[in-house]
Structures are given as structure tokens and as C-alpha cells.
Symmetry: D2
Subunit: 131 residues, 4 copies
């Protein structure tokens, strides 16, 4: 499991004075850096080097979060298929679970525009972070 800390900013709050739902897309994406590194350690974004495309993301809003307190994002692997895998995310504030999410990532060849099996060495790294 990976953990990152997010400090909410003023504009992350909406008119209802709680953290707005759409910003979780940004926070969970920030957390996926640790997963992206398995595939492209130097974050080279050329079609030759970048190998991941998103197929699906989901966000379950369990509780409200507020400005002024850090948020912990926990990230782990839920499922590994042939060419795709599912990342799980959880956002905690005050040590309470507030948002759960999933991201289905596909190992993808941007030049050929085709999905590709996950290489064995990366699969092993993903497995280490399964829950």
C-alpha cells in the first residue's frame, strides 16, 4: 500500500463549504504516481515510453471533508488481469474513510493503439501491493 498526504487548498471547497467531489479525480491521480513509476520510472511521456491508459474510474463519497486538515490517500492494487489492472484508492481525514475509488488502468501501446499484456516483472510489483 502506498500513502500520500494532500493538503486541501482554498479552492477545493465548494459553495457548501466541504471539499468538492470533482477534486478527488486529481487527488487519486496524484496517488497513482507510485503505480505509474512501475511502468515508466522516468515519467517519460513519449508514446514509446508511456504505457498506461485509463479505462474506468469510480468515486464513492462516504463522508464529507473540510478545509484545514490534511487528507491521507491510500493506494493499492485490487485486481490484475491480462492487460489491465484495478487500482484502489481511499481518502481519509481525521482518520475516517471519506472517499473510496477505483481506477482501471490498461497496459497500452500508444503507437499501435492496442492493449498489451502486462510484463511479468511489472506484474510482480503490482502483486506486492495487492490487498
Amino acid at each position: 500500500m502506498f500513502k500520500i498526504i494532500i493538503t486541501p487548498k482554498f479552492g477545493d471547497v465548494d459553495g457548501l463549504k466541504h471539499i468538492t467531489n470533482t477534486i478527488l479525480a486529481d487527488w487519486f491521480e496524484t496517488a497513482r504516481n507510485d503505480i505509474f513509476k512501475f511502468f515508466t520510472p522516468d515519467f517519460d511521456l513519449s508514446y514509446e515510453k508511456w504505457k498506461l491508459i485509463m479505462a474506468r474510474t469510480t468515486y464513492d463519497f462516504v463522508g464529507q471533508m473540510y478545509l484545514g486538515k490534511n487528507v491521507e490517500i491510500r493506494t493499492f492494487v485490487l485486481k490484475i488481469g491480462n492487460s489491465s489492472f484495478t487500482v484502489g484508492h481511499e481518502a481519509y481525514q481525521d482518520e475516517e474513510l471519506k472517499v473510496k475509488g477505483e481506477a482501471v488502468c490498461v497496459h497500452f501501446d500508444f503507437i499501435e493503439q492496442k492493449s498489451r499484456p502486462i510484463p511479468e516483472d511489472i506484474r510482480e510489483k503490482l502483486e506486492e501491493h495487492m490487498v
Copy 2:
């Protein structure tokens, strides 16, 4: 069904030169204005007047979108429960479906911090936009 047109901006594209996945959260939220109006026609964001909280959002990325062409967002109602309902969204570019999404919205009393049954007159309006 509601339709809005989004013009992608330069920064909506990521390092892979396609529309980045997280911006769909913003685009579908823009499209929900038409639904929000049923509950709070004057968009008054006070706890007395605003009556919706998000419970869940999902995004299915079916195809890639690019800069330089408008995107049509179609929005409709998929399901109506006692206090919650599910909105469906579809994003089209070049008349092809590129992203599908759902948003589970709860009729919510922010003062009491409790969900409330959807009022009958609003339920009727939602029903008119069911598919």
C-alpha cells in the same frame, strides 16, 4: 435529455496529447446544471436552499478525445429512488461516444445532515428526462 457543448481548452490535454481523464469530472458537473435547476432554480448555495449531495460518480473511457473539436455532453436520468437518483452522462466527439458516466445524487438536508425523500414535483421533472 439535455445537451451542452464543451470546447476543450489547451490544458485539458495531457502529455499523451489526448483529453485527460480527470477533466470529465468537470464537464459532467457542468452538464448537471440542468438537473440542479430542478432543485434550486436560483442556484442559491445556502444550506437552506441547496438540496443535493453526490454519493458516487463513475467514468467509462470508451475512446480518446482530442483538442480542436467540440464535445457534446448528453445528460439524462437513469434511475429514481426514494431519496436518491442516478444521472447518466455521455460525451461525444465527431459524433462518436467517447466517455460514459453516472452520478448518484442524494436529496439532502445540509442543516440536519440527513437525506430526504425527493419531492413529488421534482420527481416528475426527473421522470421526464428518464431514458
Copy 3:
């Protein structure tokens, strides 16, 4: 002068229930599509084709804007130098000026990583939109 219409979305409002200042960066960038087209009509983002880099942006917040009403963004050219030019932006709500901004754009060669003189034919197009 170019005009575009922006429909504020729920999350563009911050805890003070007015449009949050940072979103103007997005709105003015959307408005620059009309300027970007002069340089790269097909919005091809390859280093061979894209020719603009931002040197400076400014935002003057003259009045507050709110959810529920469209915003008109007016865009024009303020100054043209040898390799750079300054775009002006104004945001209106209820026909009142709410935000003014400037963007200094540089004609830039991303392969050589150097600024380049603005080509004569593009200079003429920019001049047509000077105020």
C-alpha cells in the same frame, strides 16, 4: 475582438459562494483558442507544429461573479513585439466587467528551445484584433 460564453459549474464556486479566482486561468485559456488557431489551425500539439509558450499571465479581480449566470469572455490583442505579443481578456457577468487579464505569449520553437520572430502573415491577423 473574440467573444466566448462560459457557463459556470457548481465547483467553480468556493466557500465564499462566489466564483473562485483560480478558475479564471482556465476560462481565459479557453478564450485563447481563437488566438492559438492563428499559429496552429489544426491544434497539432507536436513540437514541430505548436509554436506558443506563455511568458506571463495576470488577473485583476474587479468584481465578484456567481453561479447561475453565463459569463462572457472578450479577448483581443494589446501589444505585438518581435517574438512576443500580449493578449487581453475581460470577463463580464450581468454586462459588468468582473475580471481583466493579460497573457504574454511567445512565438517559440520547442525543438530548438528558442523564441522566434512572429511570421508576417500571423502578425497581420493579430493586428486585426488589436484594440
Copy 4:
């Protein structure tokens, strides 16, 4: 001077594979948390408690930033007037200055919709962070 560390996320990069200019608005706002605390230590966003409105922001893009390396944001006070003050921001990557910015903040009464002199005790705190 205040320092925070930002980890760029995948979507912060644009089609030119560098950090996109508009995200600096978010990063500098995150850095202003330390300033906001002087005025509203508990981040209470009610009109009774929140006392700051933005009058102007500027961003000077000195160098390009990339994905995969943290960014340090340094924040300090440049000028203190009667009811307004100017915050300075600098973004560093690889220990090189990449973006400079300013934010003119006004001490503001949201109920009366009027600017107010900066209280003496807060002025002293701001002065401690002047450069």
C-alpha cells in the same frame, strides 16, 4: 518565508509535455494556506470569519517544469498597505526558479462588502515574513 512541496500529477502536464501554466494558480493558492491561517486559524469559511478576497494575481513563467520531480513553493510578503498586502511566490524545480508570482490580498468584510484595515496583530505576523 514559507515552503511547501508539491508533487506534480500526470494531468498537470499539457500536450507540450511540460507543466501547464494554469496549474500554478492552484499551487500558489495551496501555498497561501500559511497566510490564510493568520486571518482565520480554523479555516472557517463563514462570512463572519473569513476575511480575505483576492484583488490581483500574476504569474511569470521563467523556465519549464516537468513531471517526475517535486516542486518547492516559497511564499513571503512583499508589501503591506492599509487594507491590502502583496504575497510573493516562487516555484523551484531542480533548485532552479521556474515561476514567480504575486497575489494582492484585501482584508475584506464579506457581510458589509467593504475592505477593512489589516488588524495590528496580523500586520505584525505578515511583517515577520517580509523579504
